[in-house]
């Protein structure tokens, strides 16, 4: 009686089962939150997204589940390596020629051309297809997912069209994985026979006989390679564990980078609000003699503080709409040349030439001293906006760059710190504005 064969056989260790649970949960959540995003114009997708709390919430859940899946994948690499390199179990999951033969035999049997179904070992070809499909699918999803999560970083190395291609692959692979699970996995372990071994860890002798007869035969005939002795395992672990540790740390750092590195693709900066001057009554154009006399007599027309020469013949180049020092809104509908401006705005006595003509101003010799004089008292290394050096200036602040090379009119360095910024405590003078503007328009070089 004591010689009677055991009734239960261990199929999956606790670690295997935990891994499966992690995969099960993260995959399900990813499918539920992911597929509606793929099919978003469809009413059902919109409904599902609404149920889950809206698109932003769905995206966050999707990303959290993605991180769980990535962590599980890293864990899987370590556990498989442990089995292969420390315990030196045979790599029974690798596809072999026998699997192809089994597949043909199974086909023949199902078509009624053979009387006996193929006899499977530990993993049959159905299980191997499933496993390798998961490996392939997860790899594709992690790589394309990274590209979608970090498009700015990705396009630093790859052409832009790889991002929509990654999106196409992410969606296609998702649908493939979802359908494969529905068809292959659900049929094979839930419908054909309800295989509980992934939760209990065990198969009964009858189940073994039916599904893995070759493995059962090997076990019962004692042809199973025994686990190596404990000292051997200890010795191998001394090599394996440090390597696995380093791998784990590096992988976790990569995941951390993956999740946090790129800010603006997900959060982006707040939308720049274009607030045009709304109430701008049209003035009669051209100005009448009477209007001009009135403006002059009331001293309203500002005197021109700089000489008008050398590339500054056109007032509107600097003082027109949308320029660095735009004229006040009451002139909004003026489309006139210098003569008209100068009709009211007389040259200030002794007005000197504006700096910055011709040559590109030097950042270190001309621009930086202005910033040091006007800005760094408040904007230094201790504050979000740092104006103490070239790199810091070009980096900008949390809202984005403050200098857009070639576009002084759009650069916030000038629009916020400029002549028109009434709320700002410190302001550039007209000369300083002109210098900085010339430097930005020359491409903001580090010179």
């Amino acid at each position: 009686m004591s010689e009677q064969p055991r009734q239960e056989y261990v199929r999956f260790s606790l670690t295997d089962r935990i891994e499966h649970m992690l995969l099960l949960v993260s995959f399900t959540v990813l499918v539920i939150t992911g597929l509606p995003q793929k099919y978003v114009p469809a009413a059902w997708a919109e409904f599902v997204i609404g149920l889950m709390g809206g698109i932003e919430t769905v995206r966050i859940i999707h990303r959290v589940a993605a991180v769980v899946l990535i962590l599980e994948s890293i864990f899987h690499v370590i556990t498989v390596s442990y089995k292969l390199f420390v315990r030196r179990v045979s790599p029974s999951m690798l596809p072999t020629l026998q699997d192809f033969v089994d597949f043909l035999d199974a086909l023949r049997y199902n078509l009624g051309l053979a009387k006996r179904r193929p006899q499977y070992d530990r993993y049959n070809f159905e299980e191997k297809i499933e496993y390798w499909a998961v490996i392939w699918g997860t790899a594709v999803m992690i790589i394309t997912g990274f590209m979608l999560w970090n498009p700015i970083t990705t396009t630093k190395f790859l052409p832009g069209s790889w991002i929509p291609a990654a999106k196409a692959a992410h969606g296609g692979e998702a649908l493939l994985a979802f359908l494969a699970i529905i068809v292959w996995h659900v049929y094979n372990v839930h419908i054909k026979t309800f295989n509980r071994s992934m939760f209990t860890g065990k198969l009964s002798r009858e189940e073994m006989l039916h599904e893995h007869p070759k493995e059962l035969e090997r076990i019962e005939s004692g042809r199973v390679r025994p686990d190596p002795p404990r000292e051997v395992i200890r010795r191998r672990e001394r090599v394996f564990l440090p390597i696995a540790g380093v791998f784990a740390v590096v992988s976790l750092l990569l995941v951390y980078f993956f999740v946090t590195y790129e800010e603006t693709a997900i959060a982006t900066v707040p939308t720049p609000v274009e607030r045009a001057a709304v109430f701008v009554p049209a003035t009669p154009t051209p100005l009448t003699e009477a209007d001009m006399r009135l403006a002059l007599s009331r001293g309203r027309a500002q005197l021109v503080p700089h000489a008008i020469s050398a590339g500054r013949e056109n007032c509107l180049a600097c003082h027109g709409l949308g320029t660095i020092a735009p004229y006040t809104t009451i002139h909004a509908n003026l489309r006139l040349g210098n003569e008209t401006c100068l009709g009211c705005h007389r040259l200030a006595p002794g007005a000197a030439e504006l700096p910055g003509n011709g040559a590109t101003p030097s950042f270190s010799a001309e621009i930086l001293p202005i910033l040091q004089r006007r800005c760094v008292a408040c904007h230094n290394r201790a504050t979000p906006l740092d104006l103490t050096g070239y790199r810091a200036v070009m980096r900008g602040d949390g809202k984005g760059p403050i200098v857009i090379p070639g576009a002084s009119a759009q650069s916030r360095l000038l629009t916020l710190g400029g002549l028109t910024a009434e709320a700002h405590p410190s302001r550039f003078t007209a000369d300083e504005m002109a210098l900085i503007g010339a430097w930005i328009d020359a491409g903001a070089p580090e010179n």
Partner: protein
């Protein structure tokens, strides 16, 4: 019988010229019911000095009034100037000109209650209520004595707005829409009111407006008949919605219409009033300027980044071939793989079913045999 008819004919010929004369007399009297008013107010240069020191012109150009929509309907002056009941009338009480206008524009409601009430929820009414006396009232846009159709010619609409919104008009008139309107009176391009509404002009700076805005552009840019005239693709809307920005904005609009978002809407990339044709070298979305446009929201974007947006094109062999081939790959691989799995699974299920039925048959036969023996 005959006699009666003849008599009636006579009567008819007698009455006709009389009726004619009477009608002419009435018409003459109605031709200028305002002659009495114009006797004083038709004199150019007449003005009243107001408390503020401002001069209120009292002159009304009778001819301009006759040509106006109200003049053509021969409305008397007193239809609007309801406080005037006879001559001499009470002296004018108004601190300044604007005071007079603000006091009197309410009479428009007497005949035009629908549009008048529509303005009550507008930005103009809100500004007025907040104490901005210059905010537009009926007469600021339509005029008073010289009211003609507000939309003929079509550019009159935007020119009307430009009276107060000159800065924005400057941008609009350089835009692809504005130039077509002002230079050729194009019937298809939007005027100010096509996007902002007419009498109930809303606040265009709210989150709700932002989320709704793609629908405003879509009104025309989804219209196949309209767009084909200009060779513009109507895929622009669907390709936007299918992309990350558009998905967020569309879903927000339907599910949380007041939710602020920083995801780009049409005008973030194309511009608002200064929108240019996509092949205009000054366009914000033309290839040379696109990176700068992307950087408005993605400051760390690099030169390759703009190409990650498929520019409203549906990828094909020429444009975005990589995307096209990835899609093609999955269009083949998904039915291929799932088809293989499904046929194998169905075959397997079929075989198992057959075996189970055969076994049952065997058991039944065996049972029957046992019963027979008993």
């Amino acid at each position: 019988m005959d006699r009666v008819v003849v008599r009636m004919r006579h009567l008819f010929w007698v009455l006709l010229p009389m009726a004619w004369l009477w009608a002419a007399a009435v018409a003459h009297a109605q031709a200028d019911p305002n002659a009495a008013c114009l006797a004083c107010h038709g004199v150019p240069g007449r003005e009243a000095l107001l408390v503020s020191g401002e001069r209120l012109p009292l002159y009304v150009d009778g001819e301009a009034y006759r040509l106006s929509v109200h003049g053509q309907k021969q409305l008397p002056c007193t239809a609007c100037h309801t406080t005037i009941t006879g001559f001499p009338h009470d002296p004018l009480v108004a601190r300044d000109r604007r005071d007079y206008q603000l006091d009197h524009y309410g009479v428009c409601r007497n005949c035009h209650p629908d549009v008048y009430d529509a303005t009550l929820d507008s930005m103009h009414a809100r500004a007025l209520a907040a104490g901005h006396r210059e905010a537009a009232i009926c007469t600021d846009c339509h005029g008073a004595h010289d009211i003609t159709s507000p939309h003929t010619p079509r550019q009159k609409i935007s020119l009307t707005c430009s009276k107060c919104h000159a800065f924005i008009f400057e941008q609009y008139k350089e835009s692809v829409h504005g130039a077509a309107l002002l230079e050729e009176s194009n019937p298809d391009v939007p005027t100010c009111v096509d996007c902002h509404g007419v009498h109930n002009i809303g606040d265009p700076t709210t989150a709700a407006f932002r989320l709704y805005s793609p629908e405003i552009c879509g009104k025309c840019h989804r219209d196949e008949a309209l767009m084909s005239k200009y060779g513009i693709s109507t895929a622009v809307f669907n390709t936007y919605v299918a992309d990350f920005h558009g998905t967020t904005v569309t879903l927000f609009e339907r599910q949380h219409p007041d939710q602020p978002t920083n995801k780009a809407v049409c005008y973030d990339c194309h511009g608002i009033h200064n929108i240019k044709a996509v092949d205009d070298p000054e366009a914000t979305v033309v290839k040379e300027n696109l990176l700068q446009t992307c950087r408005k929201c993605h400051p760390d974007a690099d030169v390759n980044f703009p190409a990650s947006w498929t520019s409203h094109y549906i990828p094909d062999r020429e444009r975005y071939p990589l995307v096209y081939y990835v899609n093609l790959f999955y269009r083949i691989i998904i039915p291929g793989t799932i088809g293989f799995m499904l046929s194998f699974v169905l075959l397997d299920a079929f075989r198992r079913l057959v075996i189970r039925m055969r076994r049952r048959q065997v058991v039944k036969v065996a049972k029957a045999e046992v019963g027979h023996h008993e």
